[in-house]
């Protein structure tokens, strides 16, 4: 092995060591933060939160008590969210007697001002004739629920405990099954 060849091997070792060092650091970080990396898991009480709703009211975690609740995090720019909102709308009509409540929490992001968010969401709601109760979040509620990709949908029991969590588009049949399992025998 001549000098240049030896230098090349040494540089190769440094490259691999640097890559493994970075990987090791991320692995350690992942292990330390493991419990906080995923979304809020089933079995946990919903965190304390309060959102302004599009109709001018407020919705807080106490309002989840006593009913089965379906809470979804969405944005107008998210096609899967828009598709899922249509399913939730239908489910809301199915459970029109009020035993199940639905809350669609918008987290528009994108650095918009609150006024711009309201205008955009109101425009979407009007255009799609959406009747779901819509909350407006500046990101803090999504953060407390550890929401990653959207749509992010939770089924919450009447006791305020998260029972099911879905990331990405969830089928209405799945949600229906989960809701039915939480409702008292009819």
């Amino acid at each position: 092995m001549n000098g240049r060849s030896g230098a090349a091997t040494l540089v190769g070792m440094l490259i691999v060591a640097l890559a493994l060092l970075g990987g090791g650091r991320e692995l350690r970080q992942g292990i330390v933060q493991w419990d906080r990396l995923g979304p809020l898991p089933p079995g946990n009480a919903t965190p304390a939160f309060e959102v302004l709703t599009l109709d001018g009211g407020r919705f807080a975690n106490e309002d989840l008590l006593g009913k089965v609740s379906v809470v979804t995090f969405w944005a107008t720019w998210c096609p899967a969210c828009r598709s899922e909102l249509g399913d939730l709308e239908e489910l809301q009509h199915e459970y029109a007697r009020g035993e199940v409540q639905f809350l669609a929490i918008n987290n528009e992001g994108g650095g918009l001002s609150p006024r711009q968010v309201v205008a955009r969401v109101q425009g979407f709601v009007d255009a799609s004739e959406m009747t779901l109760r819509t909350g407006l979040d500046d990101g803090r509620v999504a953060h407390s629920f550890r929401v990653g990709p959207i749509p992010h949908t939770l089924v919450v029991g009447p006791d305020g405990v998260v029972r099911h969590v879905h990331q990405g588009r969830v089928l209405s049949a799945t949600l229906r099954g989960e809701i039915e399992a939480l409702l008292p025998e009819r």
Binding site: A8, T9, I15, A19, G22, E26
Partner: protein
């Protein structure tokens, strides 16, 4: 030379003496370099994303969670895959067996940027991938004449 030392020589050689290293490659040598360097890249910059994907899949325990995990891995691997395709285009079909080594600059730039970020330096998003990818393509263009064609090597 021991195969591991030989692989380290290839990776380092791409930075120290690229043309000489490419010229000294034997037939069939380094066929899996793309896979090895791609895996090192994934380990270096994507371990936390993959762990996060696993954490999501564990909580949701459904197809959506699994898709999120696959998407986390896919997002990390986009850069090396794009660089490999670009380098293969530059090298041409007859020299494409050397494309895997062109991931070395991407791996080095990404690893250094990762270390810099870990030590509090602000590295703009996607800049390491763009810089590393461009260096990889430039390296492919530079060493192209030194890589034996498959016909000549075989």
């Amino acid at each position: 030379m021991n195969p591991i030392l030989r692989a380290l020589w290839r990776y380092g050689g791409m930075l120290v003496q690229p043309r000489a290293t490419a010229h000294a490659l034997q037939a069939e040598e380094g066929r899996h370099d793309g896979l090895i360097l791609g895996t090192l890249y994934l380990l270096c910059v994507g371990t936390l994303d993959v762990i996060r994907g696993v954490a999501m899949a564990r909580v949701t325990a459904d197809l959506g969670g699994l898709l999120m995990l696959v998407s986390a891995v896919g997002r990390v691997l986009v850069a090396p895959i794009v660089v490999l395709v670009a380098c293969e285009t530059v090298l041409g079909r007859e020299r494409s067996h050397g494309r895997g080594l062109m991931l070395v600059p991407l791996l080095v730039v990404a690893a250094v940027a990762h270390e810099a970020t870990a030590h509090g330096l602000l590295v703009p998003a996607f800049v390491p991938e763009i810089v590393g990818g461009l260096l990889g393509v430039a390296l492919a263009w530079w060493v192209r004449p030194a890589i034996a064609t498959e016909e000549a090597a075989g």
